[in-house]
């Protein structure tokens, strides 16, 4: 019944949000985060945004937004076109499974999911780099991915709360199960 209700509601602001969030994250990564002296402890805001769509979006609107968000990141970066798109599609699959067991509204669960998600996305990206002969060494890459995951995890719960609040102000409906109609 709930599934049916989710399917019947038309998503609100979906593509405007995906493109807006994608461009905003691109600018944040390219212009702001690189100027801060964070070293390896750089939060991966793009992956947190993709995780938000995977965990909270309307059942029909999780997969494509994640893929498009990945494509936006691919367009704004030097890497192979489609690499982040594939990684975020797989992240959506993983997050959907995790959401059945863990409640993302809980602070610790959200942080844990962001930690695992960010680590896997970045490690996967390094695997693609290594396949094309541009890897930086597996142990070093693992350490860097761990640092990024550690920096991203505490941010995720705040980003999720802020995003839910912002969407509420925009008049986006909340669906049964804690989903947002985007």
């Amino acid at each position: 019944m709930l599934e049916r209700a989710n399917n019947l509601t038309h998503p609100q602001y979906r593509w405007r949000l995906v493109l807006g969030v994608g461009l905003l994250c691109g600018v944040l990564h390219a212009a702001l985060l690189r100027r801060l002296d964070l070293g390896e402890w750089q939060p991966d805001i793009f992956s947190i945004a993709a995780l938000y769509f995977s965990l909270y979006a309307n059942r029909q609107g999780r997969y494509l937004p994640c893929l498009v968000l990945g494509l936006v990141r691919d367009f704004l970066s030097l890497g192979l076109l489609g690499s982040y798109a594939v990684l975020y599609s797989l992240l959506h699959k993983l997050a959907s499974k995790a959401r059945l067991r863990l409640d993302p509204d809980h602070f610790v669960n959200a942080a844990a999911m962001a930690f695992v998600g960010t680590f896997l996305v970045n490690f996967g990206y390094h695997a693609m780099l290594a396949l094309s002969g541009d890897g930086i060494g597996w142990s070093r890459a693992a350490m860097r991915c761990l640092s990024m995951a550690c920096a991203s995890a505490p941010l995720a719960p705040f980003v999720f709360v802020l995003a839910n609040h912002g969407l509420g102000r925009l008049g986006v409906q909340r669906l049964a199960g804690g989903y947002v109609n985007v």
Partner: protein, 295 residues
């Protein structure tokens, strides 16, 4: 109950975007000569390049009278002349300091002839990926730029052109993990040292940002902190004597030395760069050069 078979058409691909993305990725990896991904990316960056194109006269300026426009141009010319005078003085001072110093190996390399260059403005710095390092320039194929050409700021190596379109190009910075270049470490002591190595970017971030590593340096080679790192023309990819950085640390590993260097690249100050119109010679050209050297 038999399952309905689906037809493979455009709507099927639209309903299965992951499949379409995987095909795109596979085409980019397996058929690199098609350059599918690069073409699409350059096309996507076209609006940015157009927006940052050569500055035309502003609409407000067009409304000015002839006399006011002349005054404006005169003021600009005076400002430019003052700036050039300051720069000239600074260069004279630097030259005077330099001529007092004894000629060493580094200054010998610094006198190596440079290929002709195209000046370009950096219109977009940074990369959306945490792993890659790139920037976009406002000059492209119609200005004579081709893929793989070295990009420098003065005599400091910045990177190489990675994707080139008609009016803009994307530069792979030397800190990108995909960047590599043959380099020479040059000592400035009484007995001049020259040690070869391969420079690899590692996608480092601040505060370690312009920190790179030199690979393939054999154990036993005398490498000291403070040695200058310059490009080597051995492979023909880069001209001889472009400054890269300075050796900071040498860590002995099994079978080779891990040399950490601090690059001279200053991304924040990067505004105008030079794309050196230098192309890697073909095998035949390299062979002819070797023969000429032997004669």
């Amino acid at each position: 109950m038999p399952r309905n078979s689906e037809k493979l058409n455009l709507s099927w691909f639209l309903r299965h975007p992951l499949v379409a993305t995987c095909i795109l990725l596979a085409m980019t990896v397996l058929l690199p000569f098609l350059r599918v991904g690069e073409r699409v990316k350059l096309w996507a960056l076209l609006p940015v390049a157009k927006a940052a194109g050569d500055e035309a006269q502003s609409p407000a300026e067009a409304e000015l009278s002839e006399e006011e426009r002349n005054l404006l141009e005169l003021r600009r010319a005076r400002e430019q002349a003052a700036a050039l005078l300051d720069e000239n003085n600074a260069l004279r001072q630097a030259l005077a300091q330099r001529s007092n110093q004894p000629q060493d190996l580094v200054s010998e390399f610094a006198q190596a002839p440079m290929p002709p260059a195209v000046d370009a403005r950096v219109i977009l710095k940074g990369d959306a990926s945490s792993w890659r390092h790139s920037c976009v320039l406002n000059r492209g194929r119609k200005h004579g730029i081709k893929e793989g050409m070295p990009v420098a700021c003065g005599r400091t190596l910045v990177g190489r052109t990675f994707m080139v379109d008609e009016g803009h190009c994307i530069v792979q910075l030397l800190t990108d993990p995909g960047f590599s270049a043959g380099c020479l470490m040059v000592g400035q002591g009484e007995a001049p040292l020259r040690v070869r190595g391969v420079l690899r970017g590692d996608g480092s971030a601040r505060p370690h940002f312009p920190r790179l590593e030199l690979e393939d340096v054999a154990v036993g080679e005398r490498v000291e902190a403070g040695m200058k790192v310059l490009t080597n023309d051995f492979s023909g990819q880069y001209p001889l004597g472009l400054a890269v950085g300075e050796v900071r640390e040498v860590i002995p590993q099994a079978g080779f030395l891990q040399v950490r260097i601090e690059a001279y690249l200053d991304l924040d100050a990067l505004d105008v760069v030079q794309v050196l119109l230098h192309e890697r010679p073909t095998l035949e050209q390299q062979a002819m050069q070797l023969l000429r050297k032997k004669k």
